[in-house]
């Protein structure tokens, strides 16, 4: 198996526990593998943002198109004249301000805040739990995924493990799998019930299953941190 085949199997969570452990050991000892792994993660992150976020880019283009037309429309170009660029700078800054609002509001519901996963919530391996939680909290969802999966599979009653595994699935855009994990949590009695309902709503929305998304989003009460984005989903689904 080549380095890159191993890396893909590792990052996609296709390795068994012993295979993962062996890979991690080799990663520490083999400099070429380490370099390949780092380059893979970098390329993966870039491709995800430049290719994977195409729906967000389409939304952004729709916002920008009329603004661009308004501020950069063709003027009397028959006459050659000197134009101060500062005049357009004002328009550019105005459009940039709209862009900041677009990012901060957040126009993409997927930018909703992600809670930190508590560490040392262990049943079984403390290392596994802590490493998964650490990677999750660092935003390395793809790497955290196999560890969180193992943890969730180890105890179906552990709502914390189920919830954070579900969120990691959402963040890696595995919406079908995320729904399957988050639905039972949203129907349970744990503290994650409403948070899980929001992420389940987001997954269903991403899969264009609007009635289902609506059902989950309506479970999120006003006191929840996810009330506003849930309302946004409700508006989009109605």
């Amino acid at each position: 198996m080549s380095n890159f085949e191993k890396i893909e199997a590792y990052t996609e969570g296709w390795m068994s526990g012993p295979e993962r452990a062996a890979f991690e050991l080799e990663l520490q000892a083999n400099n070429q593998l380490k370099q390949d792994y780092e380059d893979w993660l970098k390329a993966d992150d870039i491709l995800k943002r430049h290719i994977g976020s195409s729906s967000g880019i389409t939304d952004l283009k729709q916002i920008l198109a009329p603004l661009t037309q308004q501020h950069f429309q063709k003027e009397n170009i028959q006459k050659a004249k000197v134009v101060s660029i500062k005049k357009y700078l004002v328009a550019a800054i105005a459009a940039a301000a709209i862009f900041i609002i677009y990012l901060s509001l957040p126009a993409g519901i997927e930018h909703s805040p992600i809670p930190d996963m508590p560490q040392a919530v262990v049943r079984g391996s403390e290392d596994l739990s802590n490493k998964g939680a650490r990677l999750f909290n660092e935003g390395k969802y793809k790497e955290a995924l196999p560890l969180l999966k193992e943890q969730a599979l180890a105890d179906a009653e552990d709502a914390t493990a189920q919830f954070f595994y579900g969120v990691a699935l959402v963040k890696t855009e595995k919406y079908n799998d995320a729904l399957a994990v988050l639905k039972p949590v949203s129907e349970g009695t744990s503290a994650y019930k409403e948070d899980a309902a929001f992420f389940a709503a987001l997954s269903a929305y991403k899969l264009n299953r609007k009635p289902e998304a609506l059902g989950f989003a309506e479970k999120v009460s006003e006191g929840s941190a996810y009330y506003q984005p849930s309302q946004k989903i409700i508006k989009k689904c109605r």
Partner: protein, 147 residues
Amino acid sequence: MEEAGDIFQESIIDVYKLAQNKDFTLTCPLEAFLLLICKRKWINQAEKNKRHGVTNPVDEGYTLVASKDDEAAALYADTLEKEEMVVAMLQKISDRCREIIIGSYANKSQQQLAGELGVSYAYLRKKKSLCMAELISLVRNNKNHAA
């Protein structure tokens, strides 16, 4: 003017892509960063079109940007250019590999993609890792040449 509008729009989209990275924090004013990206894109476009006369002091009109901010903005702009180089390298790999990589990152499940490409899931998995290796190798070579 239309060209300026296109460049401005492309630049905002580039900033958006960069901001998708959870670790990304902008430490300089947005306008400094945005103007620098626009400026670089403008120069690249001008060079492409082999226009003369615009490569001289293009900084004129950008005096709002303080030099310290400009340095920070340049670092972000460099990062963005490196990322764009990785995406550009997709055009240099084989058609099949390009199809597999783009499909893999376009919100499709691997099973769905395998079905669309008419290959088995196992083949797709193996081929994807080979394609990523091809892409990474091109990126490395390009960096070495640029260095």
